[in-house]
Symmetry: C2
Subunit: 661 residues, 2 copies
């Protein structure tokens, strides 16, 4: 429906949300989740206004219409739910409703005893006009009621009663005069993802270290043999660093040394050799068939394989010869390697997005993603997307997701906020964050508030460690440090991940003091891990992921409330979804036992003051009964550095032994 | 310049301000005022980015370019000044500058001693390309320097020195490669008004009460004879309620009674009689010539006459016969009078903007404004604009101000925030506010913060009273109440006004308890005022307006800082502009003497800690010497309910007796 001319429009629609950068980008949601639309809708004067929300899958011809609720002060709200993946859009239409205005006035006049025949005749005209706009039975009924209203032989009270009746109100509401309606000029887009885009638990591992025989290069088959380990931990995304052939020129040795020996395996991010490039598999990992087998076996356990795509090449990559124009050439004819002056990274050639034929480059790069999608990969962790063309990402993600709306992109960008936000706006479904470096109570609270402000388009994925990030906190090596950080990651953010087994085995030696690099990092050498170590945090992580799967409160963002504690080293927060509430109390001190009085916001926990409630610790299975807001906790370093409580409210049902739900 | 294709663009421009509703509306500024433009401008990767601000008067072909300053964290800022009234526009262009990136890298490599000939050859290529982009001497110079850089027979240190020299930096900055630049898609508009749109002091009077002979209807000539009174008070806008013929049908009597006698003058807002409508003058006020004479005499004193335009008619208005289609007709053929059910206002017919030919109505209404503009009127106070079509206002204001950019519209809308804001966005240059009902410290502080959020487009005009608003505070009748409210109005907002002489004579009897209507209101009857009353606040108001004229700090908004006091009844705040700072300390208690310790924000006052400074009270001419932030004040009800201090900083100059500037 085209908009009415400006001269006829009386209704204004503004302050619409969700809206990202004036509608230039899409807001993000999940299939089946309620999408709450708010707006200010108002008209000049004092006439009644009616507003409806219209939504559709982009490309559909027809809109689905939902009446909006008036919240007061010109604010309106309505909700829609998308039942399919892809891009949806919504808009709002509002109009002045003369029947509603008239009925409200009539009611007041009737109460004041000043109704006149003219007043009722006006109503009769409104009903007759509505009759003209409708068909069949409603048209006939409205015509009849219109005649009744204007029939002065009928008692005024009867006519007023009819005018204000439920029947007439409903009939008039169903056939409004929208000839002067205002419709939001440009529909606003919402990208609807599958749930894994917001709720996912990631486990990163280097396949080459998973051989069961010391000294043998690990393979996809080894990883497949360990799927139960990952599954038992409760992770649903198994994420592999680049699996492509590794370059030989300027290959790095252990601990990032420049003099690699002939047996050193090299860095997986130095992609490409005589064995192929981004669409090939490093021969020592196995074949394309082995990879498919891993993908399929994982899928059977409900685990998705995520690939790390790093759009850069080693000097040995086939593209260097096949597409020299994709790289920057120096005046001496050589290709420009990566630099961070005065540092040189001669093992890496960046791709030159300022190439003379960007369309060909873009298509070539898209082939990489298409290839792995064809191999069953639906999740890509993109390496340093902020050092590649923004326009390319927007195009790539839009194109691949138009064909495969279930594909998920995670942006591995640790850079300035505006850049990280831009990547999310361009289409990345999830994003790495600054979580690893937010340690103190105030830092964590402030950061969660920052994330809340961009929650329409930016979905965090919290990582306590990565192969590049062994934080100062984890370098303390205490169990409390690891427990605290993984509990924070898994409960503050609906998506989180760990780089294992370094994490669960509490690997904590840095390359050198002050460095965040791991000593003997898997990035440069093959490691072996004692998965059965008694010190492993695997049992705790298993409980944590069970809690995440059981509790909807932990499966979305935007539902976080912090609770006061009188100790800077103890953080308390809750998340709620429907009747499900989880309360987390966690130490921030890796070294000492800490205690605190916690002052709970009972309303946020949906508890009555003085109501007794049970806290069921999902990590230890212990139960506590608390009352009121003020309660004491003590968190020790080795035993219980964190509580993840299911808040169980007491019920009056006597049929159950357990009185808490 | 058209934008480069998306495949080539690397720079992103976002978070641009000032911007109102995504650029749908213009931000507002004043001729000669700096317009500060901010944005986030960034690119992928680590290359250097350069940004420029471009501005022009709308309709001009060429842009004026200003380099933007980098503020860190992707933020950039630049300022432009508009030297003409009308609509201006600005946009931003940013690009990746490979020379700057290269020069930064070269410097680091040189410091690390790892410069190679290839590095310098890259620079030589960049200089040669810049030479190709330029002409004449710069082209030749760049070409020569390019050759030097690539000449391996010249010592590396000499070539590096040349590459990083001021000369090469400037030449390269003047001839950048903008072939891949990003330009903001849609220029953003800024309306540039004359200073009176933001800084103005209004005095409202009913001419019919200004006769010097008791019993005679006041005239324009009487007002002209009193111009010195208004001028001495220091006001620069003299604003008259509607001056048109007053209707006779359903004319209201004194105190809004329904049974007007034959001599009752009626309500100026019931516009139109056999003597004419909105373009006519009420005969008892004088002739068109008398009105022109008043306008001209006022102009000689620097006073603008503002007219109140109320787009509604009495049943006697000529339009009722000439343009019956401009009004809503009821089924019985009568015209619909104004209603607020169950109340009827039979003396007023609203205009029906849902008329079948709105273009004709709009043109007819515009003739009214054009007529008074032709009579020398440049300021319109529009009565209840929120009950007329928003689209009409946008069209009217745009049209009239395109021809007459010095015309100013004040919106008299006391309604919901979204509606008041919308009117300002549509073009109203000033707006009435909720100031009259903001009395407590927290109310005032919160309201000023609300106004600050909309300051890009909404310019407040603060009124302690109007003919419709005798506030509860003023009904106390104490001098402190009146002084407090006028000082707050005149110093919190750059524009303010009073309805006089009711204000300066401290008229404070309401029509009845609980009502905000004046008893014996001039709206319904002719009054006489004793301007020479000893109780008149005229001397204080004169000082207040002198202070406003002398102090730039009081002539703009957006420069307000509140200071802490330990008494809820004492409010302290300052405004600064350049080196000018005014500090106001005012009681909010109309009844009792109040004292407080004031804790001044010395940085906001541009004072050093422990620095001695002089406070010169602009109302009383008294001087106080204070030191540091913590100081005591006492404000009494009759003597000094408010201080308006010029903050004078001590200087070290011994040539002057007075050590404070």
């Amino acid at each position: 429906m085209a908009n009415t001319p400006a001269t006829d429009r009386r209704v204004v629609i503004e302050a619409v949300s969700p809206k990202v950068d004036c509608g230039r980008f899409a807001a993000k949601s999940v299939v089946g989740d309620p999408i709450v639309v708010k707006a200010k809708v108002f008209a000049d004067g004092h006439d009644a206004v009616v507003a409806v929300l219209e939504h559709r899958r982009s490309g559909n011809d027809t809109w689905n219409e939902t009446p909006m609720d008036f919240l007061g002060n010109d604010s309106w709200e309505a909700t829609f739910t998308a039942d399919e993946l892809g891009t949806w859009e919504y808009r709002i239409t509002g109009w002045v409703d003369h029947f509603v205005s008239w009925a409200e006035g009539l009611k007041k006049k009737f109460e004041a005893g000043v109704v006149s025949d003219v007043d009722l005749a006006i109503g009769a005209e409104l009903l007759a006009a509505a009759s003209d706009r409708s068909k069949g039975k409603p048209a006939k009924t409205l015509q009849g009621h219109s005649k009744t209203l204007s029939d002065t032989s009928i008692h005024e009270e009867v006519r007023v009663g009819l005018a204000l009746s439920e029947e007439v109100t409903q009939l008039m509401g169903a056939h409004p005069d929208r000839s002067r309606a205002t419709t939001l000029e440009n529909p606003l887009p919402v990208i609807v993802d599958r749930q894994e885009a917001v709720f996912s638990s990631w486990y990163e591992l280097f396949p080459r270290s998973w051989s069961t025989e010391p000294g043998r290069h690990g393979t996809f088959a080894d990883v497949e043999a360990h799927l139960d380990y990952v599954d038992d931990l409760g992770f649903d995304v198994l994420y592999l660093p680049p699996i492509h052939p590794i370059g030989e020129k300027f290959r790095k040795g252990p601990n990032n040394t420049l003099d690699a020996g002939p047996k050193d395996p090299g860095v997986p991010w130095a992609i490409g050799s005589k064995d192929g490039g981004h669409m090939a598999i490093h021969p020592e990992l196995g074949t394309a068939e082995d990879f498919r087998s891993l993908v399929d076996a994982a899928a059977e356990k409900g685990i998705s394989i995520a690939l790390d795509i790093a759009l850069q090449v080693s000097p040995d990559h086939p593209w260097v010869d096949e597409h020299p124009e994709w790289f920057k050439h120096r005046p001496d004819g050589t290709i420009q390697y990566a630099e961070n002056p005065p540092k040189k990274y001669q093992d890496i050639y960046p791709i030159d997005f300022e190439t003379s034929n960007p369309e060909a480059l873009w298509k070539g790069l898209k082939e990489v993603f298409d290839h792995w999608i064809d191999q069953g990969v639906k999740i890509f962790r993109v390496d340093n997307p902020h050092t590649k063309s923004f326009s390319f990402w927007e195009w790539l993600i839009t194109e691949t997701r138009t064909a495969h709306p279930d594909v998920i992109y995670l942006a591995e960008a640790f850079t300035r906020p505006a850049v990280m936000h831009r990547l999310a706006k361009l289409g990345f479904n999830q994003s790495y964050t600054y979580f690893a470096w937010r340690n103190s109570k105030s830092e964590l609270i402030e950061y969660m508030s920052d994330l809340d402000e961009v929650s329409d388009f930016f979905r965090p994925n919290f990582w306590p460690n990565t192969p590049d990030i062994l934080t100062e906190m984890l370098q303390t090596g205490t169990r409390a440090a690891f427990v605290s950080r993984v509990v924070l990651a898994a409960t503050l953010s609906a998506s989180y991940g760990i780089y294992g087994p370094a994490f669960e085995l509490m690997e904590h030696q840095p390359l050198r003091p002050g460095s965040e690099e791991y000593l003997n990092s898997e990035k440069y050498q093959i490691r072996q891990w004692d998965l059965r170590s008694g010190r492993s945090l695997a049992p705790l992580i298993t409980q944590l992921n069970k809690a995440r799967r059981a509790h909807p409160a932990l499966q979305r963002n935007g539902n976080l409330v912090f609770h006061d504690t009188d100790n800077e080293m103890i953080l308390a927060y809750s998340k709620s979804s429907g009747t499900d509430t989880v309360l987390v109390i966690v130490t921030l001190d890796p070294h000492h036992t800490q205690s605190a009085w916690v002052d709970l916001d009972l309303a946020a926990l949906r508890l009555e003051p003085e109501q007794q409630y049970q806290l069921h610790d999902l990590l230890t299975d212990r139960r506590y009964v608390w009352t009121g807001s003020h309660n004491f906790v003590q968190l020790d370093v080795e035993g219980t550095p964190a509580h993840v409580f299911h808040v169980r409210r007491q019920t009056r049902t006597e049929q159950d032994f357990d009185y808490y739900i």
